[in-house]
């Protein structure tokens, strides 16, 4: 078998006493792949990462790195490296000592250590920092050193535990780019834990969205965004979040459509781009991302197939510069739309919207899953 996974997790469970933290996780990562584990705090993503690292014991199920079962292998023998949220740089050691500490523990010859430090510090451009202590470094520099310490192991698997969440907003974007470049250059299999969905989207080729100890969806980043498996994933990925609009499935003259309430107390009928599956209930939830709501115009309908028009009053307008967010009233419901500043609505106006039904999702309101 040539396409051996770099990491395979099967039916992994973790409980502390009666508390079940992870319930039957299945995941795998191809060699060189960048996989993100994303979810709100307390979803179990960090526990999962700690179990991959060997820092937490396995209750049941299996973890394989390459084809080796590592369930009871201590962390140092797993051939992994990890970058921590707090960086976990040893405060009493210089940057150089931080990088060589692991090699020293494993008894790597001095000459080889020096060579490795040289290679890694050149790669990360931290040569001038080698003799400083972590306390004398800026946030971004610490981040680099932490990555250097991980890189120097040349491990099979790279683990990142929310490495950017201690940085300020601007630095976070810079370091994100840098991690991506670094991954492209060294091409190591990487498992990256974050609670920030933007980070996950920008970095990962595949994303596992976790909630309450289980994986909600494990798919390519774009698929997760455009075809979320359930309402949790749909709501978690993307900001502002996807709008959930209660709707009723109707068929007008053979054209499958949904009916939603309008602010005036009436209803509007929106034709569906493709028919709903046969087993769909009558009452559904229509999921529309803010960027798929436009100001309606005739040529828009011609340019994009599947645009449905409806009127809605504008309650609030929030310009952010690059785009303008508007709160629209659908019945009692508030729906967020994201507009180009040029075509932005004005407050109080009742505008005609064009909703891109080709990209809308339908959910079952009881099971919360995608139809």
């Amino acid at each position: 078998m040539t396409n051996q996974s770099a990491l395979t997790i099967r039916n992994l469970q973790k409980s502390y006493g009666a508390v079940e933290v992870l319930r039957g996780i299945n995941l795998e990562a191809q060699p060189g792949e960048f996989v993100a584990l994303v979810g709100p705090s307390g979803c179990g993503k960090s526990t999962l990462l700690a179990m991959i690292a060997g820092l937490e014991s396995v209750t049941s199920g299996e973890i394989r790195i390459g084809d080796r079962l590592v369930n009871s292998v201590p962390p140092k023998d797993r051939d992994i490296a990890m970058v921590f949220q707090s960086y976990a740089l040893y405060p009493t050691m210089t940057v150089r000592e931080n990088i060589t500490f692991g090699m020293e523990s494993r008894g790597v010859p001095k000459a080889e250590q020096a060579e490795a430090v040289k290679r890694v510090s050149a790669l990360l451009q931290i040569e001038p920092l080698l003799n400083r202590k972590p306390g004398q470094l800026s946030g971004g520099q610490r981040q680099r050193v932490a990555m250097g310490r991980a890189l120097v192991r040349d491990p099979k698997l790279f683990l990142f535990d929310e490495p950017l969440s201690n940085l300020d907003a601007k630095l976070r974007v810079d370091m994100r780019t840098e991690i991506k470049k670094l991954h492209n250059r060294v091409g190591k299999t990487t498992i990256y834990v974050t609670h920030d969905q933007v980070e996950a989207m920008t970095l990962a080729s595949r994303i596992a969205v976790m909630h309450q100890g289980s994986v909600q969806q494990f798919d390519a980043a774009q698929t997760i965004y455009s075809r979320p498996a359930n309402m949790f994933v749909a709501g978690f990925m993307g900001s502002p979040a996807m709008n959930f609009i209660p709707a009723e499935l109707t068929g007008v003259a053979g054209q499958p459509s949904v009916t939603v309430r309008t602010a005036t107390g009436g209803t509007a009928t929106l034709p569906l781009a493709q028919p709903a599956p046969a087993n769909a209930p009558k009452q559904v939830v229509l999921g529309v991302r803010p960027e798929h709501i436009y100001r309606f115009s005739d040529d828009l309908g011609q340019r994009k197939p599947g645009i449905a028009a409806m009127d809605a009053p504008v309650e609030l307008v929030e310009p952010t510069g690059a785009e303008t967010l508007a709160v629209l009233k659908f019945g009692d419901l508030e729906v967020t739309g994201r507009f180009d500043p040029d075509s932005a609505p004005r407050m109080g106006e009742t505008m005609t919207l064009g909703i891109d039904m080709a990209r809308a999702c339908l959910f079952d309101p009881t099971t919360k899953t995608l139809l």
Binding site: A50, A53, G54, L55, P74, P75, K76, I80, A81, M82, F84, Q85, S86, Y87, A88, Y90, P91, T92, M93, F101, G102, S105, R106, R149
Partner: protein, 300 residues
């Protein structure tokens, strides 16, 4: 600059405020100075009297300005003064205290550091409960352990010996040192330990290379706390040792009690200072850590 300041219109409110400010400052420093005198006088009295002649003390009282200066009292107190029949001064007891305090301090601090390391970074099921049980030792009054200790020390053949007192102080001290170190180590991020484990370091290597280098602040606090505590301890000293084997606290009580007729304040002052000097020096040089120990020990 000065001209414009003078040219400003007179502001009655501002002037009143500045006057009030002056008087409140005056009151603050006045009160502080008064208390400082109350705190310093006893120390000053002992220091001065240790250099005065006994006749002069007898004539002018304890609290008066010195008119003589001699060092005899100090050498008497150190080497020749008689306590309950033996005339060897405090030297022997001072050394007893030293040979008791130093090993007991080092041992209890080391054990405390290791225990604290385990209880904060290698927790296991039930370790919190065990920690709480150890903590109870902090509150135990010495009186409750007196008879059992007397029995145990007797069985071990350590009655009336410095080794016996070392044992007592180490075991009594473990609770304190463990508490101090554990609470300090809890503040060291667990990620450091995880990173070190991934780097291949084991229990002892993590302790030596990561925990110990981070420990000086707490070790200094613990050593100071233990040293002053053990040096100043009296109950165990007076119960488990006698005569030549007594630590200095017990000897001081014996000395001041033995003055039957004329009290020789000069020698006793010097003796008291000899007994107070080691912890006082430690306090003067490590005051910051001393206070930290106090507040940490108290808040917990």
């Amino acid at each position: 600059m000065a001209d414009t300041a003078i040219a400003l219109p007179f502001d009655a409110e501002a002037a009143a405020a500045s006057r009030r400010h002056f008087w409140s400052r005056f009151a603050i420093y006045g009160l502080l100075a008064l208390f400082a005198v109350i705190y310093l006088v006893p120390l000053l009295v002992v220091v001065l009297n240790s250099f005065r002649e006994q006749e002069e003390i007898a004539r002018n009282g304890l609290i008066s300005l010195p008119q003589s200066f001699r060092l005899n009292a100090w050498s008497d107190a150190w080497g020749t003064y008689c306590i309950a029949g033996t005339c060897e001064g405090m030297k022997r007891n001072f050394l007893n205290s030293l040979w008791m305090t130093i090993p007991a301090t080092i041992l209890s601090t080391l054990l405390g550091a290791i225990n604290g390391y385990v209880l904060s970074k290698w927790r296991f099921r039930g370790s919190e409960v065990l920690f709480t049980c150890m903590l109870l030792g902090v509150f135990m009054p010495g009186q409750i352990a007196l008879m059992p200790w007397a029995f145990v020390l007797g069985k071990l053949g350590l009655t009336n010996s410095t080794y016996g007192l070392i044992l007592v102080h180490v075991i009594q001290g473990i609770s304190f040192t463990t508490l101090f170190c554990r609470n300090y180590y809890v503040g060291i991020p667990d990620d450091l330990i995880k990173a070190a484990r991934i780097d291949g370091a084991g229990f002892w290597r993590i302790f030596r290379k990561i925990i110990l280098p981070l420990s000086p602040p707490i070790l200094i606090v613990t050593v100071i706390w233990q040293f002053t505590g053990i040096w100043n301890e009296y109950l165990f000293g007076v119960v488990f040792t006698s005569g030549q084997q007594q630590p200095i606290t017990a000897a001081l009580v014996a000395l001041t009690a033995s003055g039957t007729t004329a009290r020789s304040y000069d020698v006793m002052s010097a003796a008291v200072l000899i007994g107070a000097l080691p912890p006082l020096l430690i306090y003067l040089f490590g005051g910051k850590y001393f206070v930290r120990g106090l507040t940490q020990g108290a808040i917990k």
